[in-house]
């Protein structure tokens, strides 16, 4: 397979959606409008934790222009026994979309209004009378798990291996992975390093706020336009929350201005559906940036304790990792994924990984790029660094001594097939940035990262046009350049140029069922379906040529976009190119179309190694990133520019998480920085050009060797930056963000 000589795969054609994007023509979620459309506004909870005693929506209806008002009681009662979908617990989701009996975070939706203008809708929302019985907020892990903690959900009983509490608690689930004999492992170690780490809640920070337009018809049919990573997820989840039959809902995904996992769920869609049903008019709902911060995303705050033992020769022996992740208002933090990733890059004979999913009165977390893994890696990769330091070993050398390779078994079970972790370490060691001279107050950090990647379900269809060009349709919104990669795959099989393929993002009625654009699965799984469908097209093209030539199918081979007589077959015919065969479709059997569906149970995991150089201002504590290098195994980079873009984007988000990003809550659980001024994501001038090195160790599960690349690059940076700052200052930073006040306090020893 790796022997295959590619013609299109690995090239860098201009992306098919580029012109519309750079000229502002592309339509994003908020760009849709329909005749007679109403504007909606959402009334949100002013409390982090309260019972809703009563809601009187009638005053809103008295406001001129208001056409419909809804509250949680207008939706079917969600039950825990109810429909459990693969995207999480539907009752929790429904209660998050709009509170029914209780609000569980400041900004939780409690009612919504649709009116002829946005001002009227907002005025209507202000008029709604809600009586709350305020309850104590639960704002961190310590207070959530304390014996006297206020309980968020009366019916929440901890799942997972004993010992877990049996009465209702704020701990939703325990995940435990172990192997070997941990005590023996530490006893056999020459050095043991133990530290505790914390990370705050951070937001995905996608530039496009959530937005939707919904139209309902008299026959009950519903059309939803929205920005999402998964139109089928929106359809299924909206059906569950509203009680509308799934087949009556059509979801049309818009272009998407970032998601990073945050657009894998629903917030506004059921509200707009219900408002539209009641008013008989199309309804548009668009979040403000403040609403995005208060009521969507973020990812968990975490507390991670890591204890690691190693022998003098650099061999890692034992590790114990205990992790508490905040899920926010409803169970479902990514602690399970954190457990799966925490130790998966190294071989430990003895290990315990113990994870707890904790609810707090904060926004419900949503997926964020490699959910859970960066938080775990922040602890583990710093401790690995410290072990290397204690043993006097180069940090890359120590990692190479312990790196997993083919046939090693991951702590969560699977045996690795071909993987490229060692290759990333070796490339990083060879990179000129690893030997660049450092000046005073500068330091270099190294960290690696693992992400398992997802397979799930995908389908694709390919249609030939009469002129020999092709159209490929999938159900995956293009969030990271996937259209270009999809066109390349069709082009590779058909033997034409990528610009001769039109890649389309279908809606839920024009594309076959396809899971989210997420889990780094689109190029991998949807790619497999595309390749299979394209191969089917090639077979059909050969059939048509066979018919034209009057030979058997195996008398026709497909080479460079042309049908040619295969070895030994009649050679008195001229090759037929795609356009010639396509032009004769009608006479040779009709349209040439193909479709394929896949559901790979696994995906090839991704590994990366990053290098970071920083300079620390000793008097202000400000950290400047001087150089940043990402090395990652992509299996096979279909469109290298978008692989590099993923590597750079993940690194940029991770650097932001490391240095300045954090949700700041006041004592009542109100986010104090719900905007980009004070939620300090990096701006372009904060970062150096991020260097990229793509390593290609083919993934045996994919016909081209592709592995997902979107998530792995956010795993190492938190620890990589921390390791660099430690090298520059001699201080370990175990709490994020590594912001100037924190750095200065450590330098000054306060």
């Amino acid at each position: 397979m790796s022997e295959r000589k590619f013609k299109q795969v690995g090239t860098r054609p201009i992306r098919h959606d580029g012109l519309e994007k750079v000229t502002g023509r592309a339509n994003f979620g908020a760009d849709y409008s329909l005749p007679g459309m109403l504007q909606g506004a959402v009334l949100r909870s002013p409390h982090a934790h309260a019972k809703i005693v009563s809601i009187d929506t009638s005053p809103a209806l008295e406001v001129e222009g208001v056409k419909a008002v809804i509250s949680g009681r207008d939706f079917p009662i969600p039950t825990r026994e109810g429909d459990r979908q693969q995207y999480g617990d539907v009752p929790d989701l429904a209660n998050n979309v709009i509170a029914r009996d209780k609000v569980l975070y400041h900004g939780h939706a409690v009612a919504a209004v649709a009116a002829t203008t946005i001002e009227a809708a907002q005025r209507g929302a202000e008029k709604i009378r809600v009586e709350y019985e305020v309850l104590p907020p639960v704002l961190d892990i310590e207070s959530a798990i304390a014996p006297d903690a206020a309980i968020l959900h009366d019916d929440l009983v901890c799942q997972g291996p004993a010992p877990v509490p049996s009465s209702p608690t704020n701990v939703a689930r325990r995940t435990l992975l172990s192997g070997g004999d941990i005590e023996q492992g530490f006893a056999d170690s020459d050095v043991v390093v133990e530290r505790e780490f914390t990370t705050p809640m951070v937001h995905q920070g996608y530039i496009e706020p959530h937005a939707t337009v919904v139209e309902t018809l008299e026959n009950g049919n519903v059309t939803i336009w929205c920005c999402t990573q998964g139109p089928f997820a929106v359809r299924g989840l909206t059906a569950s929350v509203t009680g509308i039959e799934l087949s009556k809902i059509k979801v049309i995904p818009s272009e998407i201005g970032g998601g990073f996992g945050g657009k894998t769920t629903i917030y506004l869609e059921p509200l707009a559906v219900e408002l539209s049903r009641r008013s008989g008019r199309p309804v548009k709902l668009v979040m403000s940036r403040e609403e995005v911060f208060r009521a969507t995303g973020p990812t968990s705050a975490g507390r991670v304790r890591v204890k690691m033992g190693a022998r003098k020769d650099g061999r890692l022996v034992a590790a114990e990792v205990v992790m508490y992740y905040e899920a926010g208002a409803f169970p479902g933090s990514p602690v399970g994924a954190g457990c799966m990733c925490a130790l998966s890059a190294y071989c430990f004979d003895h290990f315990v990984i113990d994870g707890y999913d904790v609810v707090t009165t904060k926004p419900r977390v949503a997926a964020y790029r490699a959910p859970g893994a960066p938080i775990a890696a922040f602890g583990v990769e710093q401790v690995v660094d410290e072990v290397a330091e204690r043993l006097g070993l180069d940090p890359i050398e120590l990692r190479l001594l312990n790196a997993v390779q083919e046939n090693d078994v991951a702590p969560y079970g699977p045996k690795y097939q071909a993987i490229g972790f060692r290759e990333t370490l070796e490339e990083a060691r060879k990179h000129p940035n690893y030997s660049a001279t450092l000046g005073p107050n500068q330091g270099r950090g190294v960290a690696s990262g693992f992400w398992f990647n997802a397979g799930l379900q995908s389908s694709a269809s390919v249609h030939m046009n009469e002129d020999g060009t092709a159209i490929v349709t999938t159900g995956n919104p293009d969030i990271g350049g996937s259209r270009a990669a999809q066109a390349i795959m069709v082009a590779e099989e058909l033997g034409i140029g990528a610009e001769q393929v039109v890649p389309l993002v279908g809606d839920t009625e024009s594309a076959g069922y396809t899971d989210l654009t997420g889990g780094s699965r689109t190029a991998y799984a949807t790619g497999m379906a595309i390749i299979e469908a394209s191969q089917d097209i090639v077979r059909q093209l050969r059939e048509r040529a066979a018919k034209i030539w009057g030979v058997e199918l195996d008398g026709v081979a497909w080479e460079d976009g042309r049908a040619v007589p295969s070895n030994g077959a009649a050679s008195d015919v001229e090759p037929l190119n795609l356009a010639e065969i396509a032009a004769q479709m009608g006479a040779t059997g009709g349209p040439i179309v193909a479709q394929a569906a896949v559901s790979p149970p696994m995906a090839g995991p991704g590994f990366a190694t990053h290098l970071c150089d920083v300079e620390v201002d000793q008097e202000t504590g400000k950290v400047t990133v001087l150089r940043y290098t990402t090395v990652q195994d992509a299996g096979k980079a279909v469109h290298p520019s978008y692989v590099e873009g993923q590597m750079q984007g993940g690194a940029a988000q991770g650097i932001g998480w490391a240095l300045n990003e954090e949700y700041i809550f006041d004592e009542n659980g109100v986010v104090e920085n719900p905007g980009f001024l004070d939620y300090r994501m990096p701006v372009a001038s904060d970062l150096p050009m991020i260097d990229t090195v793509i390593v290609e160790v083919a993934n045996p599960l994919h016909p081209y060797g592709v592995r997902g690349v979107g998530e792995t690059p956010i795993v190492p940076p938190l620890a990589c930056v921390a390791n660099a700052v430690a090298a520059a200052t001699g201080k370990r930073f175990t709490d994020l963000p590594i912001s100037p006040p924190r750095v200065l306090a450590a330098i000054d020893g306060d």
Partner: protein, 288 residues
Amino acid sequence: MQSIPYQAPASVSEAVALLGSDAEARVLAGGTDLLVQVRGGVRKPSAWIDVKRIPDLLGVSVEGDSIRIGAATPAAVIFEHPELQRLVPGVAEATDLIGSTQIQGRATLGGNLCNASPAADTTPALIAVGAQCIVAGSGGEREIAVEAFATGPGQTALAQGELLVAVRIPKPAARTADAYLRLIPRTEMDIAVVGAGVALTLGDDGTCTQARVAIGAVAPTALLLEEAAAALVGSRVDDDALARVAAAATAAARPIDDKRGTIAYRRKVVGVLAKRAAAIAANRAQER
């Protein structure tokens, strides 16, 4: 969108008359503070009085012994002005720090002063160079020193109906130079956690003969620091003097704890920036 009446007077007297007749009308310059506040529901003006069409409020000129900057001059025009850059580099760099390229095409000096944020970047730089605000009202013009212009967060010495017309900066004497520094956790698009501006004059032997030190974002208004200036005057701006400048700035700061920085951090760093700005100003003066 809400609809708010808009007027664009062509003269100072017309603007003053409009302002005098409606207490809820607001001057609109670049709008980079005001539009954000209105959209956030913080302010609800009854009318916009756009001052960007008044010739007296536009442009940078060097006349006689002073530099005049019209209040409605955008930041980019100010810091790109070669003579201004040469004469008061600290004022130029403070203006250059505002926002980003896009913001700098709109944000005006007058808006920065009149918005009266304790963290406004141009304020300490202007105080350091001894700038005066030229203010027009129904009774004519008056001058207010920049250090007296902001009276509290969002509060100025402007009386109702008054308009800031220009800022006048005395042309620096020989061997005089200024500098401005601020600390933000990022490189741009952020609000000063701490700012410090210094202007000083060196004698022929390198001894500092005059100095003004101003700090921002560490008190309800920017502060002019007599003690820090005294630490410089008579010194050769050596490490010793700089340490005393830092200590004086730290002692004078009265910051708050908020999402942008802690009290302890701001106090320490204001000293660091004051001494660094003084060192830069001294180097610049040395070269003159």
